[in-house]
């Protein structure tokens, strides 16, 4: 049995004001991607985009999106993504752009990459902490999630939300 192959694009939604990220939902992203593909590649692109395209995951706190494209045409569809300038969500127009971080063949590899990437982000943000307590808290959280393997994901989520509060 041969499985149907797809490509998963791990994208980061960049906005100027991070509080706007919470307004995002998967349907808004999917609609934005579909409309931009139709604009750039016309009916052909829209047809390709309707086959197996879906938004697999969205983390509104960190602005991380997983997009699934069919493997044979992911490059064509990806080439339309840079032209996204805004996402319409809940009646609001959010100016943003998608930055692709990783392209994977399975969701698992993307998740592995994301865990590593988020740890890196925490290390980057550590010097920005305002006082020593905050710093200790974040440091403890990082140590926790890198030591215990089983609790990795839950801790990861916690640390992410902590970071959001700080900013």
């Amino acid at each position: 049995m041969v499985r149907v192959k797809s490509r998963y694009l791990l994208c980061e939604v960049n906005v100027s004001d991070r509080s706007l990220l919470l307004l995002l939902d998967d349907r808004a992203i999917a609609a934005a991607v579909k409309s931009v593909v139709a604009r750039i590649h016309g009916d052909y692109g829209a047809a390709l985009c309707s086959i197996r395209f879906s938004v697999k995951y969205l983390n509104a706190h960190t602005g991380i999106v997983f997009l699934r494209f069919p493997k044979r045409c992911y490059k064509l569809l990806w080439s339309a993504l840079p032209f996204i300038t805004s996402v319409e969500s809940r009646g609001q127009n959010i100016p943003c752009f998608l930055n692709c971080l990783h392209v994977g063949g399975t969701i698992r590899t993307c998740q592995k990459f994301l865990v590593r990437y988020n740890t890196q982000q925490l290390h980057r943000m550590l010097p920005k902490c305002k006082n020593e307590e905050e710093r200790q808290e974040v440091r403890k959280a990082i140590l926790n999630c890198s030591l215990t393997r089983q609790n990795k994901e839950t801790f990861q989520d916690e640390t992410e939300s902590e970071e959001d509060e700080e900013e």
């Binding site: 960049n14 906005v15 490059k75 080439s79 840079p82 100016p95 930055n99």
Partner: protein, 274 residues
């Protein structure tokens, strides 16, 4: 992960906006950016060539590049829009304060002279209008031999649909004659939201007629060769490099800045010899 560069960020007098553009560029993983000062001479009155603002005046603390531990490197660049051959004055003292020098020729004759004669690093391809001339093989090959590169900016394509058509059309006609060699892709972004990530730009190169490898070169290794080319312009083919040594106490303050400048070419010299 290779070193990505974006050699065109438009200069704005709005300091905050420029700062946010540089911060976004660092976040996306660009380790070198250049701030572009446009200069468009007109026949009627004489205009001043802009002078670059020192980087430490523009931004207090340079942000750390994504995935690296080094702060972002910011350069200055001048783009002269040429509509007459007298507009580019070689040996002008004002040009020396810029790290990179670019021209945007508007006629075929000027394009020819920019490719073959002028002492510059970058030739900008206009993306906001239909090409007024064809790219002929001879000048393009001459430019490739001399190490002068062609620049395509993508932010106009993001802004507007007609501009997108012009950008893609001009890019494809350029690729016909230069076959993907000596091309750089840069943003010309005025706002932070007009920047795109390096992998997105690489894939965008497909629309501009570049192959995967060529598109990746267009934002990494070709940009590096532009920087090295710019250094040879200043330093007698990169062989001799002169610096002022300061012995006075008044010069002491300048000393650290200068020593930084000297370090960069010294580290790169072995590569030049390759």
């Amino acid at each position: 992960m290779s070193v990505f560069m974006d050699l065109n960020l438009s200069y704005t007098t709005d300091k905050n906006r420029l700062q946010s553009v540089i911060e976004t560029a660092a976040h996306l993983g660009f380790s070198t950016v250049a701030i572009n000062y446009g200069f468009e001479p007109t026949a009627k009155k004489k205009q001043e060539i802009p002078t670059p603002k020192p980087i430490n005046e523009l931004i207090d603390q340079l942000p750390i590049v994504q995935g690296r531990s080094r702060p972002i490197r910011v350069l200055n660049r001048l783009t002269v829009v040429m509509s007459d051959s007298s507009h580019f004055r070689p040996n002008a003292a004002e040009y020396r304060s810029f790290d990179l020098l670019a021209v945007q020729p508007t006629t075929e004759k000027l394009f020819h002279s920019a490719c073959m004669l002028l002492d510059i690093d970058i030739i900008c391809i206009s993306v906001t209008e239909k090409l007024p001339f064809f790219f002929k093989r001879a000048p393009v090959n001459g430019a490739v031999d001399r190490g002068v590169v062609f620049e395509l900016c993508y932010s106009a394509a993001i802004r507007d649909s007609t501009m997108r058509r012009y950008t893609i059309a001009n890019a494809l006609s350029l690729m016909e004659s230069c076959k993907g060699k000596n091309v750089i892709l840069s943003s010309a972004a005025e706002k932070a939201l007009e920047l795109r990530g390096p992998y997105d730009i690489t894939n965008l190169g497909l629309l501009f007629g570049l192959s995967d490898a060529e598109a990746k070169e267009a934002i990494s290794s070709t940009c590096r060769s532009v920087l090295l080319h710019a250094e040879t312009r200043k330093t007698a083919s990169g062989i001799i490099y002169t610096t002022k040594t300061c012995s006075d106490s008044t010069c002491q303050q300048e000393a650290p800045a200068r020593s930084e400048l000297c370090e960069a070419p010294a580290a790169k010299r072995p590569h030049l010899a390759e």
